[in-house]
């Protein structure tokens, strides 16, 4: 091994790295919000009483989950090019639909774990179905699924690196650019891989700030989705 380490070009390119990091955070945050909304709606629909609604929810999750994320991105970027969406929006849409299906599966399992009696009691006290879901079932389910959500969200952050292939200037994209200019291949990729590690660890700690989530995490991780 006679590789000559040289970290100065990496430090010199810190502006680009910071720019990429900010875009990665923005991309992940936007997709995280949208995929949570998708997950809550579809996951709720998957526990609906109507068979048609359940079938639609199942169809959605199965198709979205079983198509590679890269294809999701290319579909929004190339196949729907007539929409003229900016690359960033394509990446958010692709990431959200893909991860949303995973969130939906977790939400469905969480709702299932809350117990039928809770819903029945809520309805008996005069709440409407939607109120019962919003006030009684979802808060409890959220606490149960917090650890799984944490691992899904850290996956989402890592998956956001694929946005680089449709030219979104996030962290991985900038790494490629820096590598192309400086040829410090090893140093560049080790640096950004450590940045991702920090980002992912921080994000999974954030999810556990959901009130009561820490106890559930201690009680044993919920099955990974």
């Amino acid at each position: 091994m006679n590789y000559h380490f040289d970290w100065t070009p990496i430090w010199a390119a810190r502006g680009l790295i910071a720019e990429g990091l900010l875009l990665t955070i923005a991309l992940s945050a936007a997709s995280l919000a949208l995929s949570t909304i998708i997950g809550l709606i579809v996951g709720g629909a998957a526990t609906a009483r109507s068979r048609t609604v359940r079938a639609c929810a199942l169809f959605f999750t199965e198709t979205m989950r079983n198509i590679p994320l890269l294809i999701h991105m290319y579909i929004w970027y190339m196949a729907f090019s007539f929409l003229r969406l900016p690359a960033f929006s394509c990446a958010v849409l692709g990431l959200s639909l893909y991860s949303g299906a995973y969130v939906a599966e977790v939400v469905r399992a969480g709702i299932g774990a809350v117990g039928r009696g809770q819903m029945q009691a809520a309805l008996a006290t005069g709440l409407t179905g939607l109120q019962a879901m919003r006030l009684i079932v979802y808060p409890q389910a959220l606490r149960i699924i917090a650890p799984s959500l944490a691992s899904l969200f850290s996956q989402l952050i890592k998956d956001s690196s694929l946005a680089s292939v449709i030219a979104v200037g996030e962290l991985t994209y900038q790494a490629g650019a820096i590598d192309g200019q400086t040829f410090r291949t090893f140093e560049v990729y080790i640096t950004i891989s450590l940045i991702y590690l920090v980002l992912v660890t921080a994000a999974s700690q954030l999810v556990l700030l959901i009130p009561g989530a820490r106890n559930e995490a201690a009680a044993g991780r919920f099955a990974d989705a």
Binding site: M1, N2, Y3, E62, T63, R65, N66, I67, P68, L69, L70, I71, Y74, I75, M78, A79, S81, S154, K158, D159, S160, S161, L162, S164, V165, T172, A175, G176, D179, T185, F186, V188, Y189, I190, I192, S193, Y196, L197, V198, V200, T201, R221, A223, D224, A225
Partner: protein
């Protein structure tokens, strides 16, 4: 079938074949490595245990694309060897999936009841025999669903190999699209192929679990 697909069918099929090849190699080697690392962490082999933990944490915190860049560009530069995109992709996939599988295996190993281990030791089996004949078979059967989840995930992730220039299914589709420009048809076709392959594998996993699985 649309013309553009029919005309390029041999090329697409070759791409599908490469996807299958990549997946099979990565799944087989990744499972072996994952089992090894998971067992090392379960048994707490001195020194190796710490190395295994570092490996798992780093890989699980790194995006697959970055892992592929490391195995394709960074490691060959660092150690001065030559590699092909195909081999670097398999190397990256194995490193990547094994870290996740190791955690699954470790969880499965820890879920085996300690009384069974004590009973095994009491009947005069060595610790290695207990591990091999009593703990591992149960642990593997217990984690079948997570294993198949990871396998399905890996098959989808093989599409990322197109980024470093492997002409597997996605790479082949992108090349055809660059020449004939029918993005909707081509991407839809590829998406459906992945959908079928992945759904088939998860159904197979469910059937296998129904047959051999251990429920807690």
């Amino acid at each position: 079938m649309p013309d553009v697909i029919l005309k390029n069918l041999p090329f697409l099929l070759h791409g599908l074949w490469l996807t299958v090849e990549l997946s099979v190699w990565s799944i087989v080697l990744g499972t072996l490595l994952g089992l090894l690392v998971g067992t090392i962490r379960f048994v707490r082999v001195p020194v190796l245990n710490v190395l295994a933990a570092i490996y798992v944490e780093i890989i699980r915190g790194t995006p697959l694309l970055v892992v592929l860049f490391i195995t394709y560009f960074a490691l060959p530069a660092l150690f001065g060897y030559r590699t092909t995109a195909y081999r670097a992709a398999i190397f990256g996939f194995v490193l990547f999936i094994a870290a996740y599988l190791a955690e699954d295996f470790r969880a499965g190993l820890r879920a085996v009841r300690p009384t069974l281990i004590q009973a095994g030791l009491a009947t005069g089996l060595t610790r290695w025999q207990v591990l091999r004949h009593i703990i591992l078979p149960q642990a593997v059967r217990r984690v079948l669903p997570s294993l198949f989840n990871q396998y399905v995930r890996l098959i989808k992730f093989t599409s990322v190999a197109s980024v470093i220039g492997v002409t597997e299914l996605t790479g082949a589709g992108l090349l055809i699209n660059a020449r004939d420009f029918h993005p909707v048809t081509i991407l839809a076709t590829i998406a459906i192929v992945y959908l079928v392959v992945c759904s088939a594998l998860s159904l197979a996993g469910r059937a296998l679990y129904a047959q051999f699985g251990v429920r807690t």
